[in-house]
């Protein structure tokens, strides 16, 4: 051993400069961080993809007797196609909602639980950029990905269905570019609105994920159940309960979806989904003060998560 370790100070392989290394461009670092999120949390892309594949090829399963008088006319088949467009988008969004909630609650807790946080922190990435990459994944990349996935799901679903069932000379789902596009725009706006409205929920879960020493799930959910109960028992009021309800569905009432069924189907006639683009109050919903207050609260919660990740050192080291 002595020979191996003899006089290490004289050893010199040369080549290392003492000059400070410049940082990599933040875009490249961010891209790497984002890739890492999809490596670690594979359900973010696996779950929506599997559900989309199941939906897209569902017309191959089973057999349906199609005798639907309302869809005899060509316009109604165009309208039906847009309804299917929405009908396939919806379950994908629900799956995404669950995946993203779990992701936000897990992402900052997981790296402390498996103690890999020390490895991540041994690399020149700031806490703000790390947390930022997670918010970017949850608030932009996954929703956009699911939106595109829904689009393809609809195309495949329509093709498969039309190959299997034809209804007279016309395909059951008639494709009309204009109506298709209007529906996509409507769905995109609804998605955008959902992201903004539910951002505080995600940011709250992220903050709990950064803060909780253990059981982040309980820390995230119990207060939401216990606080309204406590309020009711102590003060006999329901403000918190109403607030939570409002933060869950409030924006959809403002948008006018509560009575949305009437827009689409009435008197044996089906209107294409795209009419909602005019019938719903998008202008009102997007300029709603509570929506943007929620975004402001989210920014504060995300900042809190960044600070907590940077400051805490209860890692088992």
């Amino acid at each position: 051993m002595n020979t191996t370790f003899a006089d290490p100070a004289d050893r010199n392989s040369g080549g290392s400069q003492a000059a400070a290394a410049p940082a990599l461009p933040p875009g490249r670092t961010l891209l790497t961080l984002v890739r890492r999120e999809f490596w670690e949390h594979r359900y973010l892309w696996l779950a929506p993809t599997v559900v989309a594949a199941l939906l897209a090829f569902s017309p191959l399963i089973g057999h349906a007797e199609l005798d639907l008088p309302p869809f005899a006319s060509a316009e109604n088949r165009v309208a039906l196609s847009t309804l299917v467009q929405w009908g396939l988008w919806m379950p994908l969004c629900v799956v995404m909602g669950f995946c993203l909630s779990y992701y936000m609650l897990d992402c900052l807790y997981a790296e402390r639980k498996d103690r890999s946080i020390l490895f991540w922190k041994s690399l020149p990435v700031s806490d703000a950029l790390t947390v930022g990459s997670k918010v970017l994944v949850a608030a932009a990349l996954v929703p956009l990905g699911v939106f595109v996935l829904a689009l393809f799901t609809h195309l495949v679903f329509s093709t498969v269905l039309n190959l299997r069932y034809s209804f007279g000379n016309l395909p059951l789902l008639a494709f009309n570019v204009r109506e298709w596009f209007k529906t996509e725009v409507t769905l995109f706006l609804v998605l955008l609105l959902s992201v903004l409205w539910y951002l505080p929920w995600g940011a709250y879960l992220l903050a709990v994920s950064a803060w909780a020493r253990r059981s982040p799930f309980l820390w995230a959910t119990l207060p939401l159940v216990l606080a309204p109960l406590l309020e009711r028992m102590v003060f006999g009021t329901h403000y918190l309960w109403h607030f939570l309800n409002y933060r869950s569905y409030g924006i959809w009432t403002k948008l006018g979806i509560g009575h949305g069924g009437g827009h689409i189907i009435s008197h044996n006639q089906v209107r294409p989904f795209g009419v909602l683009l005019y019938d719903l109050d998008f202008r009102g919903a997007f300029s709603d003060i509570d929506l943007w207050l929620g975004v402001a609260v989210s920014v504060a919660l995300i900042y809190f998560a960044i600070r907590v990740r940077g400051r805490r050192d209860d890692t088992a080291w």
Partner: protein
């Protein structure tokens, strides 16, 4: 050249426990410094402070940066391996390389691949499929591919068998260390690596007990081994530690001349391990 690490009056408490109690030390470039202390002495806290992973009071400059405020900038110049278990279990080897390459301006992928080629680690393996020794090799490969100025290792070989430990330190010295780099290392296996150190810092109860270069240790401390009957004469020269082995007595002296002691018995420079044990017991008895 300016110091790599300059610490003045570092203090940190966890509740009533003082993990660091006004600790001051300096680490010069091109040195391999052993930070040695018993469990709970404050070694890890000191390392965490240096790496910007904990808050503390006092002044600390690492490569001219304040680690509390500039961890991300500091990590471009500093590498650390805190423990063998910290690589995430889901990570694949090639993903680890891609990640480091994507966030670290001084990471050289080819260097890491060259190192890995000499091991049994496959690019497609996940960390959870690797043995403990292989995880350490992987971590070392990632770390050594970074052209850093300061490498901090906290018990890097904990839980590894002797073969892996030997390989680890051989790679560290042969492939990595040079005069522009500084290594700060803590370990419990002091005997195994003591020839590696150029400097040692002993720390106990959150305080620095000794901070010396290995060259200076030789001139400052002497170990005298002598037969039991001559012990009384030697004791008059105030050894700070003595121990009886097989009827002979070993004594440690500080600051005595070699001529003065040489007449009494067999004289040599104490090993770092012996010196450590002596210093820790001296601290305990006073």
């Amino acid at each position: 050249m300016t110091a790599v690490i300059e610490a003045r009056d570092l203090s940190k408490s966890y509740g009533a426990t003082r993990a660091l109690d006004a600790v001051s030390f300096t680490v010069e470039p091109g040195r391999i410094v052993g930070l040695i202390g018993p469990n709970g002495a404050g070694k890890t806290t000191a390392l965490k402070a240096i790496l910007g992973l904990t808050t503390f009071s006092g002044e600390l400059s690492v490569l001219g940066l304040d680690p509390r405020a500039r961890r991300d900038a500091l990590m471009r110049e500093v590498c650390f391996i805190a423990d063998v278990a910290v690589l995430p279990r889901w990570l694949r080897v090639h993903q680890a390389l891609t990640f480091c390459e994507g966030v670290h301006p001084r990471f050289d992928r080819h260097r890491a691949q060259d190192f890995l080629r000499r091991t049994d680690i496959r690019m497609t393996s996940r960390v959870r499929e690797l043995s403990k020794g292989m995880v350490t090799q992987l971590h070392l490969a990632l770390t050594m591919a970074i052209d850093a100025r300061l490498l901090v290792l906290d018990e890097p070989t904990l839980g590894l068998d002797l073969l892996y430990r030997r390989k680890f330190y051989d790679s560290l010295l042969n492939d990595y260390f040079d005069k522009d780099r500084t290594i700060l290392l803590t370990t419990h296996q002091v005997e195994e690596v003591e020839n590696l150190f150029t400097d040692v810092i002993f720390i106990n109860h959150g305080r620095v007990v000794l901070a010396e270069s290995v060259e200076d240790l030789g001139s400052r401390y002497q170990q005298l081994t002598l037969a039991g009957e001559q012990a009384a004469r030697a004791r008059a020269l105030h050894p700070f530690y003595e121990r009886e082995v097989f009827g002979r007595v070993a004594m440690l002296f500080e600051g005595r001349s070699r001529d003065e002691l040489g007449a009494l018995g067999e004289l040599r420079t104490p090993s770092i391990a012996d010196l450590f044990v002596a210093k820790m017991q001296e601290g305990a008895s006073t």
